[in-house]
């Protein structure tokens, strides 16, 4: 370290980097707290969204099963996604649903040892 370096160091020493602005403290501390609140809120929001989705799907499925049972005149059957797909492939309307419902009901009755469901001759009029 020579004399010139000492002069430069002395010059530097007469100054110092400026202080942080006064509002930085509030900004830093609030951002730390906000981040925490945001993560908590995001967790609750995700949980609530999943709950709503599950409830909506449940209600839609229940309603679909009730409608299917009502139009086919049979008791409760398990209306699955495959059944819905089959109904759509048939005609996408009430007749396809009725047909699939009856098929499911007949299968269930056979499985339980009951005779086949009597068929209404006018039931599939819409499919013709």
């Amino acid at each position: 370290m020579n004399h010139d370096d000492g002069a430069i160091e002395s010059l530097l020493g007469r100054y110092r980097p400026v202080s942080p602005p006064p509002d930085l403290r509030d900004r830093v501390l609030s951002s730390a707290v906000q981040t925490r609140s945001w993560w908590i809120a995001a967790g609750w929001f995700s949980a609530a969204a999943m709950l709503l989705l599950a409830l909506g799907l449940h209600l839609a499925t229940a309603r679909m099963m009730q409608e299917t049972a009502a139009v086919s005149g049979i008791g409760q059957i398990e209306w699955t996604a495959e059944a819905e797909e089959a109904a759509k492939m048939l005609d996408g309307g009430g007749a396809g649903r009725r047909y699939v419902s009856l098929a499911l009901a007949a299968g269930a009755r056979r499985h339980e040892g009951f005779p086949p469901v009597p068929m209404d001759p006018g039931l599939f009029g819409e499919m013709r």
Partner: protein, 192 residues
């Protein structure tokens, strides 16, 4: 180290979520001014320095929430601010190709409340801005934090000789710009 509501700002509370806010405030009061000055000298940009300090404290808050273990809050914050500063420097270098030569915002104030020669301050700021960030960092730690070359070398993960060389190059460059008659003298290749 400041003491606020029983917190020194350097002993993280273990799992006491309700006290994190108080701890962060104490840690800010104890460390923020020095961290900001360090970031400002390294970045030569007040806005970027504020962002670096803010990110360091956000990181500290996240660690506290997870119940993480920090041996020293001061050391953690220093390393975190340095990490954020160098991320910012790398971003600027990619964007601008040359981070040096930023101008405009004020970097220096009078030490100890003394009077300020505005011309001298402006020339010194311009000279500091012309240094690579690597040299400004060493100058800051040596002059304004009064660290030894050994401490700087340990913090930066460099050899003492490299740190001392970096410091001497920085002073030589400042001297060439600030002292009349030194312009062009002793020009050497200056590594960062």
């Amino acid at each position: 180290m400041a003491d606020l509501h029983g917190h020194s700002g350097d002993d993280p509370p273990g799992g006491r979520t309700a006290e994190h806010g108080v701890f962060l405030a104490a840690a800010y009061d104890a460390n923020a001014a020095g961290l900001y000055r360090y970031a400002l000298m390294l970045l030569a940009d007040p806005g970027a320095a504020e962002d670096a300090v803010q990110q360091a404290f956000v990181g500290l808050a996240q660690i506290l929430r997870r119940g993480g273990d920090i041996a020293s809050c001061e050391s953690y914050l220093r390393a975190a601010v340095r990490h954020e500063c160098w991320r910012a420097v790398r971003r600027r270098r990619r964007r601008l190709a040359n981070v040096e030569g930023l101008s405009g915002s004020r970097l220096l104030e009078a030490a100890g409340g003394g009077s300020v020669d505005d011309d001298e301050r402006a020339r010194l700021e311009a000279a500091l801005r012309s240094l690579p960030a690597e040299q400004r960092e060493v100058v800051h730690l040596k002059v304004y934090e009064a660290w030894t070359f050994q401490q700087i070398a340990e913090f930066l993960g460099m050899s003492i000789n490299s740190v001392a060389s970096r410091y001497r190059y920085a002073l030589a460059k400042l001297r060439r710009q600030l002292v009349p008659g030194h312009a062009g003298q002793g020009d050497v290749h200056e590594p960062r």
